[in-house]
């Protein structure tokens, strides 16, 4: 236990191991401990196939650890059913995937509004206004009514980030958000992510292969062969 001044982690993963059954069982993540604190800007690096994405899926409640526990705001999640986990994803977590994963038939604006509509907290006008505000913040308000197919890779990635922010999540998990962007666009995206932590106190965890980008995080987590080699837990109890 650290001192009482230490804040409650937003996301916490304890002694988690994820093994995929198959003809040859594969261990994606081994005995990982990690805690994400409010306002933290965390980078995750590691060789290809080391388990970075797998770790992010566990943190994002998209996947379940075979052994271990994931806590959201101090609450264990292993006992929750699929619907309850979906609800947490919707309200508290934002995901940006390496490939943008937008709905192709919907405009950028509609894609950003999607999680808001699913949550149903705001009325339609408020949703639209908020989505436009986020798009504006990311510098793509002008493209709000275009469909993903009419946008460049960097624009799509920013729409995906906007969508991840839709319900004002406490943590945004981004898997190689700059993966297929040029240096300038990568720089832009990184600045956007950085600003999101600074301004709103939410935490960002992003996976990247670019060590110079990773170096600009508050904390650098390095994963090798499914284990955290460096930059480990901020605080893990139990």
């Amino acid at each position: 236990m650290t001192g009482p001044a230490s804040p409650q982690p937003l996301l916490e993963i304890r002694h988690a191991t994820r093994i995929i059954d198959g003809e040859v069982p594969t261990t994606l993540v081994r005995e990982v401990d990690l805690a994400i604190l409010p306002g933290e800007f965390v980078s995750v690096t590691g060789p290809s196939g080391s388990g970075k994405s797998s770790l992010l899926y566990l943190l994002g409640l998209l996947d379940l650890p075979t052994v271990g526990e994931v806590l959201v705001a101090g609450e264990p999640t292993s006992g929750l059913d699929e619907d309850a986990r979906a609800k947490i994803r919707l309200t508290h977590l934002g995901f940006v995937f390496q490939f943008h994963f937008l709905l192709p038939e919907f405009t950028a604006l509609a894609n950003v509004m999607l999680p808001m509509r699913a949550l149903g907290k705001l009325d339609e006008d408020e949703q639209r206004a908020r989505a436009m505000a986020i798009l504006d913040q990311l510098g793509i308000a002008a493209h709000a009514l275009k469909r993903p197919g009419q946008l460049s890779g960097g624009q799509r990635q920013r729409v995906a980030i906007a969508r991840a922010l839709a319900n004002d999540p406490m943590v945004v998990l981004a898997d190689e958000p700059t993966g297929n962007l040029d240096t300038a666009s990568s720089e832009q995206v990184l600045q956007i992510l950085r600003r999101l932590t600074d301004e709103q106190g939410r935490a960002i965890v992003f996976v990247t292969h670019d060590l110079s980008l990773a170096a600009r995080a508050d904390r650098q987590v390095r994963i090798v062969d499914g284990r955290i080699a460096d930059g480990g837990p901020s605080r893990v109890d139990g």
Binding site: Y57, F95, F101, L103, E105
Partner: protein
Amino acid sequence: MRLILDIAWTHISSRVRQTLVGLLGVAMGVGFSIMMAALMEGSQRDFVSELVDSLPHIKVSDERRSAPPQPAEVAYRALEVVGLSTPVIRPGIKNPYAIVSMLEAWIDGTVAPSVETRAIIRYAGRDTAASVIGIDPVREPKVSKLATQIREGTLADLHKASNAIILGDKLAAKIGARTGNSITLVAATGDLMTATVVALFHSGVAQADETQAYVLMKTAQILAGQIGLVNSIRVRADDIMGARDLATRIEAATGYKSVSWQEANEDLLSAFEIRNFIMFTVVGAILLVASFGTYNIISTITHEKTRDIAILKSLGFQERQVRRIFLLESLIIGVAGTLVGWALGYALCLALGSIEFKSPFMDVNRLPIYYTPKHYLLSASVALSASGIAGFLPARKAAQVQPVEIIRGAS
């Protein structure tokens, strides 16, 4: 819910051709089902109403359901008498007019007595057996359609000659007699009677037109050799479908065998039931086949949209919400198909109903089409349930997609 509808709509509206094919499948299923049901029920109703019109709703006859108890049976309870020979002469209904006025006072409907006997009609040297029915020309129109079936002359012409007779038109044609001709009737007793043909009738039922003749009651009584005989009382009930119950009550009150039209045509009515069963089976099968199209479309969409489903679920959509999307899609196809099918079915009914053709067996020269909202609602409910099932199966599968597996696979 609006969101789910929006997503469902983008899926099907971006697949216009596939959606139209599925929609048309449902529409044709619904349309043909309605047409078939209208035709089947139309012909059945047509047939039943002809049947009901041509026969009395209830016929009280001078028979009894079981042999009357014999004096020996009454005296000795252990005794049973079987194999009694039936009397040659029909006993007739006792106190027929008392029964007629009792029934008139009691039931909702009309009542008429008649005398049924048989005779041989002799004309131009040829003999033809006929059943001769003695009627009261005033009461008769209240219980049967005979008055409207008269082709030449009128029912009242029975009073115009002594021993006037009305022949079925086919019977007249068979013996070669026309109105105004004198024919000879040979009674069962062998007595001869000269009668004048005053009118012809055509009921449309070949059996009746070929073998029946109508005379006044007293003429029939003379033919039967029993003065004052009344051996059947016919009842036309206001409530046609209630005839069966009414017949039971009349039988209980009079002791005479009372046969409703339903009982008289039990075989036919049960044949209709089988026919209806076959119809519903075929209709169900048509709609089931139609729903395969829907199943195919929804499965295709769920396959093509696996990635989108993974996105939605990773964003926090719940399984049932994803399921609803695809269920809704199949219901949209089902509802639209049903509406188009209704229009198609109605159009088919109108088209079929307007075709004229000649049948050697019946007078009907148009197909009897029966229009009822029931057929439309029934086909809609079957089509929608089938669409629901057709959508549910792929929808359930789609909803179970594990987003992480799709996302892992894509990156």
